[in-house]
Symmetry: C2
Subunit: 136 residues, 2 copies
DNA sequence: TGTGTTCATGAGAATCATTCTCGCATGACT
DNA sequence: AGTCATGCGAGAATGATTCTCATGAACACA
């Protein structure tokens, strides 16, 4: 009811897509597509930039990766498939996944009060992590 | 301690900036810079696109306008200067400002638990408003 | 109210991330 | 192995935003 998925596209497994996912698995924090592309090249994995974008989109569609839109460029991160939010260090990018049932309920209630239906919400928390705070 | 504002730039009042702000006052919902530019031209207000961007940035810096980054393009809206969040209709763009003390506390607590300092958060709720729901 | 200094404007070029095009390569399935 | 749709790569195209720089307008002060 929330996700009809009419044209269930058969996803094909290729070296490039595996490489992108594998790289994301090792990283901890949000990275831009361009960053990921550069990292792959450094490691000798020859992957085109357009392909990185396509792979990331596919992963996002499959719910394996989350997107964060900072100023101008989008950042991606391997995430758990259950609904959650992020606590992101604005200095080093380290990220913690956090759940918050109260916010879910609050969003639904406020939306209902104003007559809004089919509600979604996005919540991100930014701060400076302990390591970065002491390091300065 | 939260806003040092070291180089308090003297903001100059010009016809163009007033026009942008005046237009935003009349509109209800988030609009892109390009939209605003087009609207101004329709109304006979000759304003350059670059100037619209500059004016919007200034307004955002002054806390008079809020930004929303959808896919690719940023949207702007005249908002109250107190901290709040938005309930946005994804169909017609109509927007309601909502406050939520519990979320504020929750964000602060979760951040503290993970050792994060200097915390900020962004929360937006999207849905379909009553008018758009019945109109379909 | 004149006048100079300084900041703002505008047209178009430049930048930058992202997407598209299209010919070729390669998975998946028989 | 053979077929064939799907994915890939390089570079062009797109589209939003920012920059450049010569000109114009605000503001402070005499």
């Amino acid at each position: 009811m929330t996700r009809p998925e009419p044209t269930e596209a058969p996803r094909r497994q290729t070296r490039q897509r595996s490489a992108v996912l594998a790289l994301l698995e090792q990283l901890d924090g949000f990275r831009t597509a361009q960053d990921l592309h550069a990292l792959l090249r450094e490691r000798g994995e020859a992957v085109g930039l357009a392909t990185v974008y396509r792979a990331l989109q596919a992963l996002v569609d499959d719910g394996l990766v989350d997107v964060l839109r900072g100023d101008g460029e989008a950042a991606y991160r391997r995430c758990s498939p259950v609904h959650h939010h992020h606590l992101v260090c604005r200095s080093c990018g380290r990220t913690v996944e956090v759940a918050d049932p109260p916010v879910e309920r609050w969003a639904a209630r406020v939306a209902a009060e104003h007559g809004f239906a089919d509600v979604q919400h996005q919540l991100e928390v930014f701060g400076t992590c302990a390591a970065c705070t002491t390091a300065r």
